[in-house]
């Protein structure tokens, strides 16, 4: 029970802190959210490339995988793991394979809802 509680504290700490750092960059600099997403993705991919991010994932679980850093990490990890087993072909295909489920669900579900929903004007 205590260990589960501790795990959630770690998730809150890591997930919240990553978002807070991004927000700090948003309000302190002129960097747009889209650029920050790309920067964080790159950081995740670099840390993943050196195999460092997996330690964070092991420590903080969803607190590390849900932020976009985790997406970058899984792309890099996928490429490395596939390169180990399938050589050059794996190095080329591994990244997309690792991310494929998330991307496919995003596209498929968005496609589906777009048939039923219209955009609404913002009230504020």
């Amino acid at each position: 029970m205590l260990s589960a509680l501790l795990m959630y504290l770690k998730v809150i700490f890591v997930g919240g802190s990553i978002c807070m750092i991004a927000q700090l960059i948003v309000i302190r600099t002129k960097i747009t959210p889209a650029r920050i997403l790309v920067i964080f993705l790159m950081v995740g991919a670099i840390l993943g490339g050196f195999g460092l991010y997996n330690y964070v994932v092991e420590w903080a679980g969803a607190g590390a995988t849900i932020p976009i850093l985790g997406f970058g990490n899984s792309l890099a990890n996928g490429a490395i793991t596939a390169a180990k087993t399938d050589g050059l072909f794996g190095a080329l295909s591994g990244g997309l394979i690792a991310a494929s489920a998330g991307i496919a669900v995003s596209i498929g579900l968005s496609y589906l809802i777009s048939f039923f929903v219209n955009s609404k004007t913002k009230k504020d």
Binding site: V26, P33, K120, T121, K123
Partner: protein
């Protein structure tokens, strides 16, 4: 027409603003100016399928109502001048097609209202035609779709951002039919660029253009802010109008009691629009509701309206260019 100084012109004929009509969306209708507006539309699609068609519908409704209100028929209107914020001025073009009035499409972003008043009154001054309708407008949802993000996209606005006004303002000008309010002078602005690149901070980008135009007008006519009952800028918003006041102070003009900004006054503070309204519809609806009303009731004798426009293009802005801006000034007087 007499040229005064470098950029200002004085009209010799009596050019009357016969009627003004304003049509706005619900959010504007909830603001402090609600009792001045002619129409407040609950549905900003106007029952149409898309926001673009809704904007078009708003234009048609506003313009035909304005013509009816002025007592003319469509055939008696010789010319329709105006524009909007959409690419290729789609809303105005389709409206002109429906109304079957000869049409000149104008684009000066949010400064299009005063630009069309200038073109309209110049045409009337030349004679040969009697009645002109000037109409501009904008729509929050179509502008958001074209210039920014999808409507359901979640993002936080910058604290200095503004809100595009949904609304259309139309004025009928005439050289034959008399009314209290006349257009006397106007100043054609120069494109001004003080190096602001942030497209969310349009107030700061446009303030120097307003300053240049108002300064030129004061120089050309040898007057100061004290000679006018009201000086109104188009859509600088709160931040932009504070900057504008600072810039005018530097030039030696102290704008305090008789200065308003249409963008700043169109929404209440609790409506969460940050710095206030913007868009081609902003100065158009405030002119055709609040300002004309106060002129007609005699509360103001003369009003300077300076619509300001940020002539930005997302393409060149992404290539690193700053935002060029323009402001045109019109002097409205009561006899």
């Amino acid at each position: 027409m007499i040229k005064l100084g470098k950029q200002t012109y004085q009209l010799e004929k009596d050019i009357s603003v016969v009627t003004g009509l304003s049509l706005v969306g619900q959010k504007e209708g909830d603001g402090p100016l609600k009792r001045y507006f002619d129409f407040v539309e609950k549905d900003d699609k106007m029952g149409e399928k898309t926001f673009e068609k809704g904007e078009r519908h708003m234009f048609v409704k506003a313009i035909s109502s304005a013509i009816k209100k002025s007592g003319f028929s469509n055939e008696q209107i010789d010319l329709y001048v105006g524009g909007d914020l959409m690419n290729q001025l789609v809303s105005s073009n389709y409206t002109a097609e429906e109304l079957e009035i000869p049409f000149l499409g104008l684009y000066n972003a949010c400064a299009t209202m005063t630009e069309s008043l200038i073109i309209g009154s110049t045409f009337l001054e030349t004679g040969g035609l009697n009645n002109v309708i000037c109409a501009t407008g904008s729509h929050f949802s179509t502008a958001e779709r074209q210039y920014r993000y999808p409507l359901e996209f979640g993002n936080q606005r910058q604290s200095y951002a503004q809100w595009t006004v949904t609304g259309v303002g139309a004025s009928v000008l005439s050289s034959v039919k008399k009314s209290k309010v006349k257009i006397r002078k106007f100043t054609v602005g120069k494109v001004t660029d003080f190096g602001i690149c942030d497209i969310a901070n349009m107030g700061a980008a446009m303030a120097p253009a307003a300053m240049e135009t108002l300064n030129a007008f004061f120089k050309d006519t040898n007057t100061t802010q004290k000679d006018y009952d009201l000086i109104a800028t188009g859509d600088l918003g709160k931040l932009g109008s504070d900057i504008f006041k600072d810039l005018m102070q530097e030039k030696g003009y102290d704008l305090e009691t008789n200065y308003i900004d249409c963008g700043h006054m169109i929404y209440n503070i609790d409506q969460d629009t940050l710095q206030g309204g913007s868009g081609a519809g902003c100065s158009a609806v405030v002119l055709n509701s609040y300002i004309l009303n106060k002129l007609n009731t005699g509360e103001f004798k003369n009003v300077l309206l300076i619509s300001t426009g940020a002539l930005m293009s997302t393409t060149v802005n992404q290539q690193g260019d700053s935002i060029p801006c323009i402001a045109h000034l019109v002097l409205l007087e009561v006899e």
